[in-house]
């Protein structure tokens, strides 16, 4: 094959003509074409990006393309090998046949030309004519080949010799008296077009000179055969590759479809629709996947329903306890009120009992309220009802509510507010509850020292600190102050009648806002509580506008 492919008869001048014509077309259209190319480039770039995205997402596409590439390469190799083998076979057979025919023709050639004497030009001419006639008549398979006869001896009348050009290398070999074979483009008839062919050069020794006989075998039949084989292999190959790719697509589809269904269903389950299930058919691996998924979803659904029911029961219980306890408590409260109002008519011990009953009912009520509030948090039913509110007004309200108590305990409350409005999205009821708690604690533990309330704000957050100068906290206690029913110093009496749940509820209130409630304290240096709130609901906090450790305490620590 390599021999005649080097001869290049497959496609000679055509391709270069094509190239030149495209060049002129591009140059003619000029900038317009360039813009077109640019657009096509942009379009294909976009297409490539989309394809890359799809490539990453679709297993089916990946399998199909991989199969296509691998089977394509395989088919290409096999195809090339096949075509090569067949072409070589065909050419080898033709060559053997040609050599056989040349051998057959040798006897008449030697007979006709062997006696020709170059000293007698007419004799040479006659001999050549005789041979030509003979070859023409003996050649039953006429048209199989053409004979070109040349000689290296110049004769006066050389018309008898053919002027057909023959490759120089071939001529050189023949002139040395050897048979030579070469593939070359030839004319099948003196005025015919060029076709691929095989030339066999045969020297015949005449007297005083050498005749060169060139047998020209046209190979167009073989070329057609090879082209047919090439086409057949090409189309069969393409068909095979497409077929394999289609099979790959169909097979992966069988796997990918259920996987996609499973992914979609899982997404829906994750989205909250717990009743979603996969329809399972058959008993294969895919069906097992579906069954396992359904079992998982079912168990998940049962668990969540159980938890929901528990939560519902808890909520119901909270609500029921609330109602059941509160109605008799109302009656008791009113009865106590009536007794309390008439205590002047009673003997002193009974009167004191009425007073104690009244006071303890107050405590009981607050405790019940706190318990219900914290159980509401535990049940996860607390809702934030945020409004745009000036934090300063909430702080002022909370401080005003505690002024009386503070004055009663000889304790002064100082408030530092920013001049500008501090608008924050808060549930004012809850924030006021936090502040009242912090103030109550500060008065409780402040040992009659002044209490300082500071409000600060930046773009993202607002903060309130409540600073007292009382006994402070022992190291490590800052972590416990928000625990339920925790008491700093059990021996200390409570002035404000706290329930022990206040700070725990305050912490939950702050968390509900997405805010922080933190404590700082040092033995003898007092304590500071800092409430930090995001300015807008849902904004994450990263820092607080006020320091947790008060400025007057920094450095005083040992």
């Amino acid at each position: 094959m390599s021999g005649w492919s080097r001869a290049g008869w497959a496609r000679p001048a055509g391709s270069s003509r094509e190239r030149s014509s495209r060049g002129s077309w591009v140059s003619r259209l000029g900038p317009l074409a360039e813009r077109g190319w640019a657009r096509a480039w942009a379009f294909s770039a976009r297409g490539a990006r989309a394809l890359a995205r799809e490539w990453g997402r679709s297993l089916q596409l990946r399998v199909a393309v991989t199969t296509l590439v691998v089977s394509g390469a395989l088919v290409l190799i096999i195809g090339l090998f096949l075509v090569d083998q067949i072409s070589n076979g065909v050419l080898r057979a033709k060559r053997s046949a040609a050599i056989a025919q040349v051998d057959t023709a040798r006897t008449p050639a030697t007979t006709a030309l062997g006696g020709a004497n170059f000293g007698d030009p007419q004799g040479v001419v006659n001999a050549v004519h005789t041979l030509k006639r003979e070859l023409a008549s003996s050649r039953a398979d006429a048209g199989l080949y053409r004979v070109v006869i040349k000689t290296d001896v110049p004769l006066d009348d050389a018309d008898v010799f053919d002027s057909e050009p023959v490759p120089a290398g071939l001529v050189a070999l023949v002139e040395q008296g050897r048979r030579a074979i070469q593939y070359e483009r030839i004319r099948s008839s003196p005025n015919g077009s060029l076709v691929p062919g095989l030339i066999i050069g045969e020297p015949v020794q005449g007297r005083g000179g050498l005749f060169e006989l060139y047998y020209l075998f046209p190979l167009n039949v073989e070329q057609d055969t090879i082209a047919l084989v090439q086409r057949t292999v090409l189309f069969a190959g393409i068909g095979l590759v497409l077929f394999v790719a289609m099979i790959a697509v169909l097979v992966t589809r069988q796997v990918v479809r259920p996987v996609r269904v499973a992914a979609r269903t899982a997404a829906r389950v994750a989205g909250g629709d717990l009743s979603q299930r996969i329809r399972v058919r058959g008993h294969d691996d895919i069906a097992q996947l579906g069954e396992a998924f359904n079992a998982m979803a079912g168990s998940l659904q049962r668990q969540i329903q159980r938890l929901e029911q528990l939560s519902r029961l808890q909520r119901r219980f909270t609500s029921d306890v609330s109602h059941e306890l509160r109605t008799p408590l109302t009656t008791i409260r009113m009865a106590a009120e009536v007794l309390h109002a008439r205590r002047g008519d009673f003997p002193p011990q009974v009167a004191r009992s009425a007073e104690l009953l009244q006071a303890e009912l107050d405590r009981f009520e607050v405790l019940l309220g706190d318990l219900l509030e914290i159980s509401r948090y535990d049940a996860g039913v607390a809702r934030l009802e945020a409004d745009d509110i000036d934090l300063r007004s909430v702080v002022t309200r909370a401080v005003d509510a505690h002024r009386m108590l503070a004055t009663r305990h000889g304790c002064e409350i100082t408030v530092q507010l920013p001049d500008a409005r501090v608008s924050v999205q808060i549930d004012s009821r809850r924030i006021e509850r936090i502040l009242r708690n912090l103030l109550g604690n500060a008065i409780d533990h402040g040992d009659c020292h002044p209490v300082l309330v500071t409000v600060g704000a930046d773009d993202a957050a607002a903060a309130v600190t409540v600073r007292d100068h009382g006994v402070g906290l022992r190291p490590g206690e800052a972590a416990f102050v928000f625990d339920r029913f925790w008491r700093g110093d059990p021996s200390r009496s409570r002035l404000t009648g706290g329930t022990g749940l206040g700070l725990a509820i305050s912490l939950e209130d702050a968390r509900l806002h997405g805010g922080w409630l933190q404590a700082w304290g040092e033995r003898g240096a007092g304590a500071q509580f800092r409430l930090t709130l995001p300015r807008r609901v849902g904004q994450p906090l990263s820092s607080s506008p006020l320091p947790l450790e008060p400025a007057d305490a920094v450095g005083s620590s040992s």
């Binding site: 109605t327 009656t331 409260r333 009120e337 809702r383 309200r397 004012s428």
Partner: protein, 229 residues
């Protein structure tokens, strides 16, 4: 003449105790223990004010509230054991004027009742006009009449008080706390939900389009004010 009170509560001990307290404070109480008989009892006794427990056997407190509100503007105060927003807002939306959460102090209850029963020192022939010029709302304060385009609008006494409070100072913005004090008689700020719900109810009666209020305007972050006269 003692003000008549209808107490709708299924807890007999509480009802009896309420009776003692109310009589001591100069009211004339009547009692009904279940929801089904509450509306009939209301028609028979024609009370000046109703105390209504929300959790009742038979017809629920909310249904009783709606039934009474459908035929009368008499003040209704809910007695509720639930302080959850949903329950309170539901109660207010079904027509209650105010609520007290159990356990309440008798003084607090009586103060609320007196605030609802308070008769305004009506100035002779005080008349107010608010709203857009092309379709104003006129209020005849002593006559307890509200008119728009000649048609009378029926308001409960509470809604009327709320509208008058806003209309008397048309340029002033009222915070919810101030309204609570002026209209409901709360000494210190309590529950602004009360104001929100009643403003909604008032708007649904006096506004042409409650979604685009012209009579009772919201001032964001502050409170409410009357629309321009």
């Amino acid at each position: 003449m003692k003000p008549r009170v209808l107490v709708v509560d299924d807890d007999s001990a509480l009802a009896e105790m309420l009776g003692i307290v109310l009589r001591a404070d100069g009211f004339d109480p009547a009692f009904v223990p279940d929801g089904n008989r509450a509306v009939t009892a209301f028609r028979d006794s024609k009370p000046d004010i109703v105390l209504l427990d929300l959790m009742l056997p038979g017809l629920s407190g909310l249904d009783v509230c709606r039934a009474i509100r459908a035929e009368s503007g008499v003040p209704i105060i809910m007695l509720t054991a639930k302080s959850d927003t949903v329950d309170i807002v539901l109660g207010l939306e079904s027509g209650a004027d105010d609520y007290v959460v159990k356990p309440f102090k008798p003084k607090e209850l009586v103060a609320r009742m007196r605030a609802r029963l308070r008769h305004h020192d009506d100035i002779a022939s005080e008349s107010l006009t608010i709203g857009p010029p092309e379709s104003p709302v006129s209020i005849d304060v002593p006559g307890h009449q509200v008119r728009r385009n000649g048609g009378a609008i029926a308001l409960t006494p509470l809604e009327f008080d709320l509208l008058v409070a806003l209309a008397r100072k048309p340029r002033q913005v009222f915070t919810r706390e101030v309204l609570l004090e002026q209209v409901w008689g709360y000494r210190h700020a309590a529950d602004t939900r009360l104001v929100n719900v009643h403003v909604q109810r008032l708007r649904s009666k006096v506004e042409r389009d409650p979604e685009k209020p012209e009579i009772v305007l919201t001032v964001r972050g502050v409170g409410y004010k009357a629309g321009p006269p």
